[in-house]
Amino acid sequence: MKKVYLVADNIISPLGFSTEENVENLRLNQTGIKKVDDNYIWSEPFFGAVVNNDKLSEAWDIISKDSGYTKLEKMMLISVSKLLAENSSLDITKCGVVISTTKGNINSLRDDSYKKAYLTSISKTVQDYFKLDHTPLILSNACISGGLALAVGKRMIQSELFEDVVIIGGDLLSEFTLSGFFSFQAVSPAPCKPFCKNRTGISLGEAAASVWLSSNKKNVTEEVISISGDASANDANHISGPSRTGEGLYISITKALKDAGIESNQIDYITAHGTATPYNDEMEAIAFNRAGMKNVPINSLKGYYGHTLGASALIESIIARHCLINNELFASLGFEELGVSESINVIAKNHKKELKRVLKTASGFGGCNVALIIEKEV
């Protein structure tokens, strides 16, 4: 079967508008989560990770004079524009394009421009902006969307639909989702603390990101890194509550390992979902133990980005690629003391480590789970 390489990427987040800037901030253990005092989103201050509007306008002015785009569209278009600018051999008109988002321009529902609230409006925007012959595909699969989009991209390449695929992911921190997570009593009153004994729920965030997947090794200019395994599985248990046995996540992990043709002891690092809700983190710890991975170094990047929904697993996979390139691991920000019933090896401090294979996982509402194996050729 064809290999699918992670060739290049970009992240637009509160931690920077390039992957390099993001990685540098992770190295400094800098978080994007702040006390947000923005009445448009919430009537009281809350902790979240938002993209600065002035900084976004500045970046937007460089690529376009047209102000008729939403914040999310601007973030996505800037991300892809940067990806294209940095990779002259990437011709997006010849690529399959997959867009991962959970709520898209959901703010449009309150602002009376309801047509923008249709997710297809985003694929149209991206198509028109980059003058694509075919309409980008939208994948909307709750909190695993970004990871599943990478799996979908890999599958499209392996079944020879395209040689190259561009994955774009993005979601905003909106009143819509924040109010929903508040009604679930799931929002943390302080920056989130994944896997920690003192965790009190999620912090939401916003971000966009893009990735170039290719079957052509000639496109690879840095370390050779591929997605060697992927799988998703449903818990078949509850539409919002995580499975108590971590069933769907465990199945995804075992199938992804099998797909990559490796054993669980060949994984060097797990970049987990780790939302910092009591039940989610507990479920993940159980699944990783069932998969025989309790000693593998693990972190959640939610302490840096908050939960960026449809962008999260994509961003976390991008960071995983750079951890493989640089042979380094980042501390799981917010973590103090283990707060799950099964033992896992949470990364307390940044350190250098020779890395070959990373496991990326995500889980979401609807009982969905995804696992990816990201591997470096050495």
Partner: protein, 204 residues
Amino acid sequence: MIKEKYYISDFCSIRDKKVFKNGEQLYIDSESDSLKDFGKGIYQYLELKYPKFHKMDELCKLGFLASEVLLRDSDKLDQDTALVLSNRSSSLDTDRKHQVSIQDREDFYPSPAVFVYTLPNIIMGEISIKNKMKSENAFFVTESFDADLMSKYSKILMDTGKATNVICGWVDLDNDKYDVFLAFLSKKGRIELTKEELNNLYNQ
């Protein structure tokens, strides 16, 4: 990678107050004037006893009922039957309900039971729970039913062994306008799986 031939073993649709299975009309309801009552009618016709049904939003009810019709009298289902669904309006029908509950800051009571349905993939969660399917899921949003995408993506899943069978289709609801079509894809059947055949059956 094995490239086998696949077939559309069964298919069903719910539209214009009617339910069809494999081209035959199964149920018609010209009396009920709300989607809720129409769905309840199908639920009773199928003699279902599943309290969770009543908690679902209207989009999930439609997808769930179609899956019940599709899988009725069928032993084809297994744990590795994947779900690949799509629509145009995502979960907008319920998104609007959630938006109404938060529109007024003085009367601000978002409901968790509504919010949980503001994601289109919850349909697949509901179908998976009912049928204990611990399988691959993907939810795509496209302007109209994309038979090419549905057949190609389903074939990829079966070719790579990620699924033994696939339930694919279209479950759309927007401002009371609904359109539901599901197909069961497997290695057995009469109609070979091609985008043309799938499109024909959708348009029947």
